[in-house]
Amino acid sequence: MKKIIISMVAAITMCSAATADTIKIGVVGPFSGPFALQGKNFKAGIDAYIATHGAGKIGDNDIEIVYRDVPQADPAQSKALAQELVVKEGVQYLAGFYFTPDAMAVTPLLEQANVPLVVMNAATSAIITKSPLIIRTSFTTWQTSAPMAKVAKERGISKVITVVSDYGPGVDAENAFKTTFGAEGGTVVESIRMPLATNDFSPIMQRVKDSGAEAVFAFLPSGPTTLGFVKAYNENGLKQAGVQFLAPGDLTQESDLPALGDPAVGILTTFHYAVSHDSAENKAFVQAASKAIGNPAELSFPSVGAYDGMHVIYKMIEATGGTQDAQKAVDAVKGLAWESPRGPVQIDAQTRHITQNIYLREVAKHEDGTFYNKEIKTFEKQGDPGLAAVK
């Protein structure tokens, strides 16, 4: 039964693709709701790529993007919309996905639908293992957190306290740091997991102070809580006491920096992309993406994941000549290497995850009073250490 259906799907979709000269790409992301900013960045990255690469045409084929909105992590809705994109809109590629559960929900569809999935953000290592048709062009929390442990060690810090929000990515960040820091010979004196809905971080800072750690490694979802956390770190005298603030770059995403302001200066983060990255590719990208998003201050990391995701999709379309063959498309980009706005990157042929440079950055202030993430060190060609932790 199952096989019949699969072959039916393949037959129908293949003949429709052969005659159609418009190739549809379905993008699922948070375009409204509290995370609308990240969805906007998806769109900006995609628009920027299309604008700079042939204005919506690959050879004879037109490219059309179909957006679907999942405002907050809602896997059931995500799956229903992805299903609709495949059967109703006839998309040949699925892309986007800000939240891990939304991406996870879609993975069982891919093989049956003969559609590759390009994850443009969702950062849990395990996603990629759920189907051979998934490619990720963003990062994983393990990938961006682990180098921070090396930084801590290099700077002579031996006792660290980890403070993370109590949900999947937070726990990932905690594990990544703990594992790596332990391997480097450091000690994590205490690990605190706090509820996502925490408004007042003073009691947490008190714990940090009491722990006697030399540095605090933190992970919170980007957005309002970050602001309170960074403020509490300053106001409770941890900065003066010399407790170093370490975090993956989600915490100091560029769109939050104006609000974070002076208190954030000096925070060390490790991440795959800074809007300020100094390269010709990035200059061109920032210019195009700023134009697409309207307000350049809203530009943040999901845009680059989306931009490179489009690059991969374009390569897949070129390789398949517009016919729908998910496996062939994915195979075509395994090992693909190119110069991204974030630096040199490559799709790992084994894992299908992106191998990239991870940068150590420090929040700094421009002369004109604006803030940016200043890259001060590069960890080259980092894979995803988190995959080892996936059973």
């Binding site: 409204s32 059967v87 929900a105 049956q112 999947g168």
Partner: protein
């Protein structure tokens, strides 16, 4: 007194037979819409199935809010419990037979209903709302903590239900899931029509209007409401299980305050205290949301807000309730 005589006895006595006839008409209308949905939106079946699952939640909410007068902003606790129970049974215990999963979902929903009912019924009015809010947050946190079983915030994935009766595989178009959902809905609807017309249903309506009178008649108000809460939990649990089966994944959002509040909004939108109101509210809200968010995903919230305000101003008893009120002659004839 004279007015009394003027109203003729033309209002024919409701008979058991008449009720059955009306139920069959309702059933026929729902089936008709189900077939229409299948034919008109053959490519939106996944979304329609999702609407059915939410509708089961709203129907379940109507049982306690519409028929018993209990205000709650935490009803997703019952729905989510059903979804997680069915999902955990499939992923961790290998129970992938869909009908068994529905039964497990219903049972878990009933237990969650009993539990949250026991707490919520301690309050009245505003305090009821607050207790229900506290409960949904506790359920949500508990599911987040028990990530070994629930997958935490990453969601519980890997649910792979068997074919229904070993024959009908859950397919990409969502046809099996849709028909499965419709059948569940029809069965639940039939049972609920029975329930609300039964002596027990009458007792519940009595409690909604005057609990003191009910206890003076010797019936236990708390006991009756707890029973209704448990039944309501089973219905919500069926909805949850349907989500788990049709989407093969369960997320923390199914245990969220947002989902509870949306269910309440849908119910009040359609009109409380009648099963048809729940239907109309759910469909109007879900379609409006889907339509507006597809047309302009960036600003649909404003329009949904405007819709809610318009309903309060123009149809204070909900869409169905107000239509029924404005068409009294028609209503008399039908009842």
């Amino acid at each position: 007194m004279t007015a009394v005589n003027e109203i003729p006895l033309a209002t024919s006595a409701p008979t058991g037979h008449g009720h059955l006839k009306r139920d069959l008409i309702g059933l026929a209308i729902i089936s008709l819409f189900a077939v229409l949905g299948y034919l008109v939106f053959p490519n939106n079946l996944a979304l329609l199935t999702r609407i059915i699952a939410i509708l089961l939640l709203v129907l379940s909410l109507d049982l306690v809010t519409g028929y018993c007068g209990v205000a709650t902003l935490g009803h997703a606790a019952l729905f989510g419990s059903g979804a997680y129970a069915a999902g955990i049974a499939a992923v961790h215990f290998g129970i992938t037979e869909p009908i068994t999963m529905v039964v497990i979902g219903a049972a878990a929903g009933a237990v969650a209903g009993l539990l949250s009912g026991a707490i919520i019924l301690r309050g009245h009015g505003l305090s009821q709302l607050v207790l229900s809010i506290a409960i949904i947050h506790l359920f949500h946190e508990a599911a987040n903590k028990a990530s070994t079983y629930t997958g935490g915030s990453d969601g519980l994935s890997g649910i792979a239900p068997d074919a229904v009766f070993g024959l009908f595989q859950f397919d990409l178009w969502g046809r099996t899931a849709y028909i499965f959902g419709i059948v569940l809905l029809l069965v639940v609807f039939m049972l609920l029509r029975q329930l609300v017309q039964s002596p027990f249903g009458m007792l519940c309506r009595g409690i909604k209007e005057d609990p003191v009178r009910i206890s003076a008649m010797g019936a236990s108000v708390r006991g009756t409401l707890l029973k209704m809460y448990t039944i309501s939990g089973a219905v919500a649990g069926v909805g949850g299980a349907l989500t788990a089966i049709s989407t093969q994944v369960v997320g923390l959002d199914s245990l969220s305050f947002t989902m509870s509040a949306e269910a309440l909004v849908m119910l009040v939108l359609g009109g409380t205290g009648s099963l048809y109101g729940a239907f109309i509210g759910t469909f109007v809200f879900m379609f409006f949301e889907d339509f507006v968010s597809a047309a302009n995903p960036f600003h649909w919230l404003t329009l949904v807000g405007a819709l809610l305000i318009a309903v309060v101003l123009c149809a204070p008893r909900g869409i169905y309730g107000t239509v029924v009120e404005r068409l009294p002659s028609l209503w008399r004839r039908r009842s």
